[in-house]
Symmetry: C2
Subunit: 152 residues, 2 copies
DNA sequence: CCCTTTCGTCAGGGTGCCTGTCTTGTGTGG
DNA sequence: CCACACAAGACAGGCACCCTGACGAAAGGG
């Protein structure tokens, strides 16, 4: 039996900026994955985004994916293997290098992009309805300015 | 040997709102953990925040921590055990219930709060310097308005 | 005093990440 | 042209984190 407990009151202390930034992202991500599940992709989880979001149309090497996702190629290879078993990507030989293979989204994999685009549009529409177009533009502009100066 | 690859160009497509929200949070979190490491706490990792951030001063039961962090009590117990071995928390008997134990931050654990507060203040100061006080207030207000309407 | 619920734990499983090592293929310099 | 360093990926092994299931012990209401 599961012992997961219901969430009652998350002790919402003085809302700091970190939480204000994280929550909309978290809620959006949750909705995306709920939608994936509803549309027949219940096995897609967050780490799989580290593969799918970095695939080029013509296919991409595991090493390149690893570099883009900032992880080791071993870890990336494992994610790719998992997604391959689930039918979302396939490995095809790289014609230009017989050591290498190209990871490509299958038709099933491409369905994810369609769904993701829909959800993103939907969420942005909701937020715009809530805040109004002017404030959304403001918010985006401020976030862009903030992001422009970020360096670890 | 590690095969982690350097990150070159993250294919920064049309910056969408999700990335704009996530990046400042991610960069801040990275800095926090780098600072933990520099100050003698290299073993503290992100999931440990799910324990430390929910501890009350007098101690808190594992079940309550699990509820607050939205995970099973088994998983929470594991995190607590790990932090206990590292010396950041201790389990003491709950005087009001002989089944229960209270998880409490040790002096070493409380050092983390000091560091965290410093880093947060530091980051907010940097952002304020970059955007100016007025825009920071605007940003915070917009994020609060956005967060106020979030529900799943 | 049962009976149910709750607290914490043990047991077992899967995913996601790591380091280290190896094979195979590439390409470069002598 | 060939030896050799190097790049791509696979294989092995390990740990952290999260889950489900099941349990003994204590609490607490009828």
């Amino acid at each position: 039996m599961s012992t997961r407990l219901p969430h009652t009151s998350a002790r919402t202390r003085p809302e700091n900026l970190a939480i204000l930034l994280r929550e909309p992202f978290r809620v959006g991500t949750e909705r995306l994955h709920r939608r994936f599940a509803e549309r027949g992709h219940p096995d897609i989880r967050a780490p799989h985004g580290n593969v799918m979001q970095f695939l080029d149309d013509g296919g991409t090497r595991v090493s390149v994916l690893a570099e883009r996702a900032q992880m080791t190629k071993q870890s990336m290879a494992e994610l790719v293997t998992h997604l391959e078993r689930l039918g979302y990507v396939e490995r095809v030989p790289d014609p230009s290098d017989r050591r290498a293979k190209l990871v490509r989204a299958t038709p099933r994999g491409r369905e994810l992009y369609v769904i993701a685009r829909e959800v993103v549009a939907e969420i942005e529409a909701e937020w715009t309805q809530r805040l109004g177009k002017a404030k959304m533009r403001q918010l985006r502009a401020l976030l862009e300015e903030l992001n422009a100066g970020l360096e670890p």
